[in-house]
């Protein structure tokens, strides 16, 4: 039987990927971030997952405003790395797990989560940066990856409460998969940041600390946050943190906090990293 062995919340700032790709991750600006994320790489290596379900948002690369699925699941065997306007990131191609992905599609839809199905799609920094942060620079990714995209580009995104319930449904579906697989779930994006308008650069460390604590001890409380509360208190793009709640829902009730790291700034944002284990 498949089971969820860990959850990772991780920012997906493109500049983090660029620092690795350009070899500047050791400079004074980036060294504190990459040093601070090292324990997460060690933890994940010890966990030895077979598959990751990676919850993220596409940034006008695989998807555009033409069609905007709220939840989309990638069922392909391979996902090419997207050219986001300056060439694809020099990272390994991403291999999927079609059998588990289709199992998720079937179970989630019958469980009333109406997933859009993607048989072909490129993956952008939203997916590859969290992989780079948690796996490092590797010749190939150490596990299969099932991309799950959430719309956070066109308002309104799904609510945090809805994302949390999706996570719970993912857990039910994974536990019914007959093969013996170790599964980790990523929730990406955040933490507080605002990329637009006169308020660009907004960072709220108090909110982020509250959110990190809530992710560990009281995610139900976080599911009550409204979209306006996210945007007001964590910046307009801080709303990406609803995707963290999808990961948290997949971990079940109590969790153990294996590692936490918080850093300001990574480009325009506050970065968070949280490693959780179900108990």
């Amino acid at each position: 039987m498949a089971r969820i062995v860990g959850g990772i919340a991780c920012s997906h700032v493109p500049a983090i990927g660029a620092a690795l790709d350009k070899g500047t991750s050791g400079n004074p600006y980036w060294a504190p971030y990459f040093n601070g994320t090292t324990p997460a790489r060690e933890w994940l290596a010890r966990l030895k997952p077979d598959v990751a379900i990676l919850i993220y948002n596409d940034h006008a690369n695989a998807l555009s405003l033409e069609m905007i699925p709220t939840f989309l699941l990638g069922t392909a065997a391979h996902f090419p790395v997207a050219d986001e306007g300056f060439g694809p990131r020099p990272v390994p191609p991403v291999n999927g797990h079609p059998k588990l992905a289709w199992h998720l599609v079937e179970n989630l839809i019958l469980d009333e989560f109406d997933m859009t199905i993607a048989n072909e799609m490129p993956v952008d920094h939203g997916l590859t940066v969290p992989l780079s942060v948690t796996c490092g620079q590797v010749p190939e990714w150490p596990f299969k990856v099932i991309p799950l995209c959430v719309n956070v580009i066109q308002y309104p995104p799904p609510t945090g409460a809805r994302c949390f319930k999706l996570g719970q449904a993912i857990r039910r579906a994974v536990e019914e998969f007959p093969e013996d697989l170790r599964v980790v779930v990523y929730g990406t994006g955040g933490m507080s940041h605002q990329l637009q308008g006169e308020r660009a650069g907004f960072v709220n460390q108090e909110f982020d600390t509250m959110f990190l604590d809530g992710m560990v001890h009281d995610p139900q409380k976080l599911t009550q946050l409204s979209h306006t509360q996210y945007m007001r208190e964590s910046g307009s793009e801080g709303i990406e943190m609803v995707m963290w709640l999808a990961m948290r829902g997949a971990l079940g009730g109590a969790v153990r906090e294996a590692y936490r790291f918080y850093h300001v700034p990574t480009s325009n944002t506050a970065s968070g990293l949280l490693c959780l284990e179900p108990t």
Partner: protein, 135 residues
């Protein structure tokens, strides 16, 4: 029931909602077209002519040609899309962020290094909501 737009009370913030999506669609699809290297080349060769390929309003064309980053948001631009013009120009997210809030690049960078733009009563609310949600 109409969806609440209480987020309009957040200062300096342009939520890409139904209202903006309705007017900004073609502007953002123009930006999306710049993912293609051939289109980037065509745009650079003659910006005004390239913009004719898209049904934009005169105002939308003007803000693009003038690189009025804040103005783009006001006529339906979505930052994840308008940033593609900046990438085409060789600018970074931080360059554009500084220009949107009217800060020199260096000053903006210093603010981020010092922990970012911290919350203040003035940047949390315009004070326009009669029923501002409780923290």
């Amino acid at each position: 029931m109409a969806a609440p737009r209480d987020y309009e009370d957040i200062p300096g913030t342009y939520v890409y909602d139904a209202e903006r999506g309705r007017v900004g669609y073609h502007l953002n699809m123009f930006c999306m077209s710049l993912n293609d290297p051939e289109n980037r080349q065509a745009f650079k060769a003659d910006e005004a002519e390239y913009l004719e390929r898209f049904p934009l309003t005169p105002e939308q064309k003007q803000v693009v040609l003038k690189r009025d980053w804040l103005g783009m948001l006001k006529v339906g631009g979505n930052i994840y899309y308008t940033i593609k013009i900046a990438f085409c120009d060789g600018l970074t997210f931080q360059d554009v962020a500084g220009m949107m809030c009217g800060m020199p690049k260096e000053e903006y960078g210093k603010m981020m290094l010092a922990g970012g733009r911290v919350p203040t009563p003035g940047n949390l609310s315009k004070g326009t909501n009669s029923s501002m949600e409780k923290k």
